[in-house]
Amino acid sequence: MLATGAHITKEKDLNAHIEGFVAQLKRRQIQGSYNVALATAQLLLRVVSAARWTHIDQLVTQIKILGKRLQGAQPRELACGNIIRRVLALIREESEDTNGSESGDGVANSPLITSMFSLLSTNDEYGANRLSQSLMDGTGKSIKKDLKPYIIEGIQELIDELRNIDESIASMGVEMIHENETILTPTPNSKTVLKFLLRTAQKRKFTVLVVEVFPNDVEKTHEFALKLAEAGIETTVITDAMVYSIMGRVGKVVLGTHAVLANGGLLASAGAAMICQCANVHRTPVVVCTGLYKLSPMYPFDVESLIEVGDTGKVLAFEDGSLVDKVNVVNPLYDYVPPESVDLCITNMGGYSPSFMYRLVLDHYRQEDATL
């Protein structure tokens, strides 16, 4: 009796925690793909450690339902859904591992998901077959091995990966930036880009032009530029309008991004699309720094439904009554950058061409989880 009582209060606590998290997401108290991803992973860790299941499918549905709620709280923040899908893939993998070794013919059945080329051999039909098979023999024997510690360990690893992501990206900077090169970056709110540049500056000497990105990120731009300047990098802040005239002198455009879509397209801060177009005209390479958690299995069929529209007050001063009354103002926070505009994506797994992104998607997510 006591034990179940304690369990119930624990569950209540967890529910309250989830509700609080959803409310915070709605209020945009947690914002930015990194923060959302980390918070989601930590929440999932709690959920999985508190969850009880007799069959792994129950856990999967439970997490899918949770994922739908979280996604609904900030529908245009893809990182949340990405982490949910990563965890789902992890659970499925663990369960398949154990089932595979139980049935004996481990060698033939063991999924070779660790290498991306193995995906060529695993197709949907195969996965579905295996699932129904596991369902069939799962009911009889249930699960002998407790998966919980393995899943928890997996999520822990994911959290560690999130925390160290900038490190692994930054270490590739030396290969990307030459001595005395001029770098232009239009995404000063990206921590990844900041670390990338700071780390590279230890080995190379280069100039950075920071684009102001009016109206949403002006203050962040100045902070960003200050940090670069303090590290001894020659830094200039330029207005958005100057980008085209200065592009001829720029060696590389380094871009942070909000999300990477399955086709290799980006959702980056508003204005980035224009800058990438401009870079394309000048044949200036565009390099994107992104953690894998930003990679989403979504395709941009309806771009507008992916772009968050922000505070109107940043574009037009609210005190100007005559304008407020007569003008409709829209302040999109992000731009869709088509994959053709991007030359290289640097991830924590290495550098890839945008056209290769779909493979990474297949590597990290399961087809079954594409829609939560």
């Binding site: 209540k12 606590d13 529910n15 309250a16 925690h17 989830i18 509700e19 609080g20 409310a23 709605k26 209020r27 945009r28 108290q29 609904g72 709280a73 529908p75 507008e304 439904s305 529209v309 922000g310 505070d311 109107t312 007050g313 940043k314 001063a317 609210f318 005190e319 100007d320 009554g321 005559s322 407020v324 009354d325 409709n328 103002v329 829209v330 302040n331």
Partner: protein, 699 residues
């Protein structure tokens, strides 16, 4: 778990945490904790007849109850304890809160509802709160109808910093800058703030009456001596978001004639020089803050929410758990499960709730449509607010109107701009509802009424006439004109602009010749008459207190209220009290009830402490002694009374030795024969005083 009754009568606790745990929390983070008082009632009748059936704070704004926006703001501001003061429709509000997510354990603050059924103004509610003793620290005072996304940490930090420096900085008002004719400003309630440019201290507050073509405001010349840079501003949206210290409810209790937080309280505190309390303003130049205080601002704030000035508090944040709004280009918000005919047109700035069906050929522009509405063919809806479960039949035309829950608009009917169709009213086919009409079906007095002229042959409902406001407020016409959904630009705008220019002019002139204007004869004359009436009334009040043997505190309170009401000086208060007390003493002596010394002691021992609240420094004491001396000249045995009075008050420590000596040396104490005569016994007493002093020194 239902609401459970606690000891304090009608106070219901919805918070799930046991109170003990609360108490320990209070101890641990006294600094961090922030209380908020939400006044759920507006104490106004602007939204009638809608508010006959629902409290204003539960009216839907963009399909979400107004109260949700307030709570959302409080959650963003980091409030940890919310007290909702309910008055009208208290049961509905309590029910709503009990079933909302705010009383769940996941809520960022604990929530408590307090009934204050007798209150008819903000002042009453504050006095009630003070009596209940619920306020322990600085708190946030808001009404239940604000929409705001100002990040509050800075405002709060600034307030706390000021408080730490000066305990008398009792209040910080949050003001949003906006041009004078901004749509989100409530036209009927604009006000002038005089702020110190450097410290943002508010030194004067004056309400503006638009209709009366206010030409000038008068400022105390003292203000110009104390502050070097003053800004006189008429460009604020004042949404009554205040951070108050616990002194504020106490001051309301002390001054029981204060009702309105601005025009009585702020104005009163700033114009009275005795309290020494200061009020500051925090001017917000970005982010959004507004209050739905009239139909005109309801319209404006709805538009602001739709066009995302209030981000992240927008419809697509789906504040309520069951909402499923999605944003589309052009500020269109649609919930799931909507049926839209192929040929209907949804134009920009529109919100449509779940379960609504829109038929062929209908055009909807800049409107809010609630849930489960049925909208027929070829209907035209423009800038209208249509709440839940409304049926609009074919070919109807609705412009800038509010159609409340369950109403039916018949075929080919027209609802003109500014009209309000309240709950469940039925309008027949081919009827035109005029713009100034407010239709309702509310059966306040029990019998059913139907105005066939207004709602048609088969309709249901009657024209609501607001009589209460007309009686008590002579600005009725102004309020109707300016607070309606459709603002009568032509008639009122001009007056507002002309006001702001003339007043600015006037003020410039005023500052230049401020010395002249304060000395001008007509102001003096009016002040004189005020003083006279004050003296008479104050004296009568003290006499009454003595005759009826009132409590000392009550007598003191009565005096200070009178002083505030008449804007009198302390000098006058002292004069009045002295006249009353010495009158009493000489009455006792003359009627042979007591000997002079006993009479003085009996009266002054009981009532002397009154002077503690009237006499503060040495100058006051000298002034006081002169007044006593002057008064005694009119009495029999004046010199004896004077001597004993001085002795008695000296013993009570109201008078200091030094000031008595200074008084005696002052030329005014010997300016005419009467004064000299009455003071004949004083030198002996002074001699005794100095010798006593020396003796005690030598010891």
């Amino acid at each position: 778990m239902g609401p459970k009754k606690t000891g304090q009568g009608n106070k219901t606790k919805v918070s799930k945490q046991p109170s003990q745990q609360n108490a320990t929390q209070e101890d641990t983070n006294q600094e961090e904790r922030l209380q908020a008082i939400v006044l759920s009632d507006s104490y106004q009748t602007r939204f009638q007849p809608l508010t006959l059936e629902t409290p204003r704070c539960l009216l839907p704004l963009c399909n979400t109850a107004l109260l949700e926006y307030t709570f959302e703001f409080l959650a963003l501001a980091g409030v940890s304890e919310v007290i909702v003061v309910c008055c009208a429709h208290a049961d509905q509000i309590k029910e709503y809160i009990a079933h909302s997510r705010w009383s769940n354990p996941s809520s960022p603050f604990t929530i408590e509802t307090v009934l204050s059924p007798e209150s008819v103004s903000v002042g009453d509610a504050m006095r009630d709160l003070d009596a209940k003793g619920l306020i322990t620290s600085d708190f946030l005072l808001v009404s239940g109808d604000i929409v705001c996304n100002v990040p509050f940490d800075k405002v709060l930090a600034a307030h706390r910093q000021r408080r730490a420096k000066d305990k008398n900085a009792i209040m910080t008002m949050v003001l949003r800058e906006a041009s004078p004719l901004h749509r989100t400003r409530a036209r009927a309630e604009s006000a002038i703030f005089v702020l110190d440019e450097q410290t943002n201290q508010c030194v004067h507050y004056e309400e503006v009456k638009t209709r009366k073509h206010m030409q000038q405001i008068s400022l105390d010349p003292e203000i110009f001596n104390k502050h070097t840079d003053l800004a006189i501003r008429n460009d604020f949206i004042d949404c009554h978001i205040d951070i108050c210290s616990p002194d504020v409810p106490a001051l309301f209790t002390e001054n029981f004639d204060y009702n309105h937080i601005r025009k009585d309280f702020v104005h009163g505190i700033l114009t009275s020089d005795l309290l020494g309390k200061t009020i500051f303003a925090h001017v917000v130049t970005d982010n959004y803050a507004a209050r739905v205080r009239s139909l005109q601002t309801y319209d404006a704030v709805s538009k602001d929410v739709i066009s995302r000035w209030t981000y992240p508090i927008t419809p697509d944040s789906n504040l309520l758990a069951d909402q499923t709004f999605q944003y589309q280009r052009g500020h269109i918000y649609k919930e799931e499960d909507i049926v839209l005919a192929r040929s209907c047109r949804i134009n920009s700035c529109t919100v449509i709730g779940a379960g609504t069906a829109v038929n062929d050929g209908t055009v909807i522009t800049g409107s809010v449509i609630g849930r489960r509405c049925k909208i027929g063919k070829n209907v035209s809806i423009q800038s209208a607010y249509i709440w839940d479960d409304v049926t609009i039949e074919d070919d109807a035309i609705i412009e800038s109107a509010i159609i409340a829950n369950g109403a039916v608009i018949g075929t080919s009917s027209r609802v003109a701009p500014g009209a309000i169709v309240s709950y469940n009213v039925k309008i027949d086919s081919n009827v035109t509802v005029d713009g100034n009409k407010r239709l309702t079906r509310y059966l306040g007095d029990g019998h059913k009424r139907v105005d066939k002229d207004a709602v048609g042959e088969h309709g249901d409902g009657y024209v609501y006439e607001d009589d209460s406001e007309a009686e008590e407020d002579d600005d009725y016409e102004e309020i109707v004109n300016s607070s309606g959904l459709v603002y009568n630009m032509a008639s009122l705008n001009a007056s507002d602009t002309s006001f702001s220019t003339t007043s600015a002019d006037q003020m410039h002139r005023k500052t230049r010749r401020r010395r002249v204007s304060t000395a001008s004869s007509n102001t003096m004359a009016s002040e004189d008459s005020d003083e006279d009436s004050f003296l008479r009334e104050a004296q009568a009040s003290v006499e009454r207190a003595i005759a009826e043997n009132h409590d000392l505190d009550i007598a003191a309170l009565e005096l200070s209220t009178l002083r505030m009401a008449k804007n009198a000086q302390f000098h006058d208060v002292r004069a009045a009290t002295i006249a009353a007390l010495i009158g009493r003493i000489s009455h006792l002596i003359n009627s042979n009830t007591l000997k002079a010394r006993a009479a003085v002691e009996s009266v002054l021992n009981q009532w002397g402490p009154l002077f503690r609240r009237q006499v503060f420094d040495q100058a006051d004491q000298i002034d006081f002694l002169l007044l006593v001396q002057r008064d005694c000249t009119r009495r029999m045995q004046g010199s004896t009374i004077l001597l004993h009075a001085i002795n008695c008050l000296y013993d009570q420590d109201i008078l200091e030795e030094e000031s008595i000596l200074k008084w005696w040396q002052a030329p005014q104490s010997k300016e005419d024969a009467d004064m000299v005569k009455v003071g004949e016994l004083v030198p002996r007493w002074l001699e005794w005083l100095t010798t006593a002093e020396e003796e005690s020194d030598s010891e």
